[in-house]
């Protein structure tokens, strides 16, 4: 009796993992190494090393912790995406609200996974990403849908910013603290806090970092594959 022809097994998946927390990095590395279907993963503790090695020899899937110091996870995605259009870039994050979701998608991520999700699910999603599918954790997908509905409901209304709000967000994005921004705008720091608070519902965010990310998106509506940073004001004062 002959065996029925079957499709050849998928080649093992090479994964790169950019994660600054050593326990997470090593543990996930070991789990991938011991999971059938994966090659021993390459582990990167910081963006510099990951950029150097991934650009030289890209893995099939790159898993990126997006909340690295100074938003460098997003920068990494943007830079790698422009140079390696076929690399599968998947965000793995512990953010409890999906602050970075749209910023990551805009930067060119192919998926957005929450660290809290079941490990088996995460491994399965990495497999799907390797096969070319966009991958999202359940709650993330709901968020995308909700955001879409809200935009449709709003009649795609543009967010209108006053000149003050625009400047405030620009400086927030450049890393200025509230005191420095208050001095720049000639306002009291309490007014700046109040302006920030009023901006949150307008931009549908709940942190200054997220507000800055949305501002960047608004300023550069077609920024999907751009690599250069937005024009920046001077660095933050002391």
């Amino acid at each position: 009796m002959t065996l029925l022809p079957t499709s050849p097994p998928a080649p093992p998946i090479s994964v790169g993992l950019l994660e600054d927390d050593p326990i997470l990095r090593e543990s996930l590395g070991s789990i991938l190494q011991n999971t059938p279907g994966f090659l021993p993963p390459r582990l990167f503790p910081d963006v510099q090393q990951a950029l150097r090695e991934v650009l030289r020899d890209p893995p099939r899937v790159m898993v990126v912790d997006v909340k690295l110091p100074g938003d460098s996870g997003l920068r990494f995605i943007r830079m790698v995406r422009s140079r390696l259009p076929h690399l599968r870039l998947v965000v793995l994050t512990a953010a409890d609200h999906e602050d970075y979701l749209f910023a990551a998608l805009e930067a060119g991520a192919d998926g957005y996974l929450m660290k809290g999700a079941n490990l088996l699910e995460i491994l399965e999603k990495i497999r799907q990403a390797a096969a070319g599918e966009p991958v999202f954790s359940g709650p993330v997908l709901r968020k995308v849908l909700a955001e879409y509905r809200q935009r449709v409901g709003d009649g795609q209304q543009e967010v209108r910013l006053t000149q003050k709000e625009d400047r405030l967000l620009q400086l927030t994005d450049a890393g200025w603290n509230c005191q420095a921004i208050a001095r720049d705008l000639g306002l009291s720091v309490h007014t700046v806090y109040a302006l920030n608070k009023a901006l949150y519902p307008k931009l549908r965010v709940n942190s200054r970092a997220a507000a800055a990310a949305v501002w960047r998106r608004l300023r550069r509506p077609a920024a999907g594959l751009e690599t250069g940073p937005a024009p920046r004001p001077s660095p933050p004062p002391p």
Partner: protein, 241 residues
């Protein structure tokens, strides 16, 4: 749009820390870090299990050690979070007593000896006699300063801890030979969750310096950070007697 920076004003290094932002609670800002840590622990447990199943006990043991360190760290962070919130809401509970300087110095670095970091610390005690201080709070202060020093020094680099009494004050200095901090950022580092721009992935939860300063202030004293000549940072706590 104008983009000139605001006029530079030398901030008062001992000026009050702006805390209005944190009246509503520190927990939301700490949520990401704590969640990340817990996820790391659950992955480490899973890694230990898979290594055991693969009959690799030494690798499994490695992940158990990671788990223990991580849990210890999570305990510390949780306790810092609670203490910091208490400091913001009602101030730290301050119970000073008369303590021998040598005793106080040794007690304060005990934890690091237990964590096998003792050989990276150089302890120096000048002057003797007794000082008036809250031993638990001073231990919290010195613990965070040493922790920062060890974190930012080279992996093998030492952290120097100097204790000194003068008739007016107890002065404690913790000096490292780490990457240093851009001087302009030094005064701002006492704010909760503020990290130096060059901290990279060595940054912790971000409450250590805030707590250390709160302890100094509970003693009616000051805590300052200064660049160390030759590289690194010196933290100097001055507790009046």
């Amino acid at each position: 749009m104008k983009s000139s920076p605001p006029p530079r004003k030398t901030p008062n290094p001992d000026g009050p820390i702006p805390l209005d932002e944190w009246k509503g609670g520190l927990l939301p800002a700490a949520g990401h870090e704590l969640r990340n840590r817990l996820t790391g622990l659950s992955y480490a447990a899973e890694a230990a299990r898979t290594e055991l199943e693969g009959h690799n006990p030494s690798r499994a043991l490695h992940f158990v050690t990671l788990l223990q360190t991580g849990i210890e760290r999570a305990h510390q962070q949780l306790s810092d979070l609670v203490t910091a919130q208490r400091a913001i809401n009602s101030g730290l509970k301050f119970s000073p007593e008369w303590i021998g300087l040598k005793n106080l110095a040794e007690q304060s670095v005990q934890r690091f000896q237990e964590l096998r970091q003792g050989d990276r610390m150089k302890l120096e005690c000048a002057g003797d006699g007794v000082v008036r201080a809250d031993a638990d709070l001073v231990s919290l202060l010195i613990g965070h300063l040493i922790d920062n020093g060890l974190r930012f020094a080279d992996p093998a680099g030492a952290v120097e801890i100097r204790w000194q009494t003068t008739p007016e004050a107890l002065v404690v200095e913790v000096a490292d030979r780490g990457c240093g901090v851009p001087p302009a950022e030094l005064p701002g580092l006492f704010q909760p969750f503020r990290h130096a721009s060059n901290a990279g992935n060595r940054a912790g939860l971000g409450l250590g310096l805030f707590l250390a300063r709160a302890v100094a202030e509970a003693h009616g004293g000051t805590l300052r950070l200064e660049p160390r000549p030759g590289g690194g940072t010196v933290a100097r706590a001055c507790l009046p007697q």
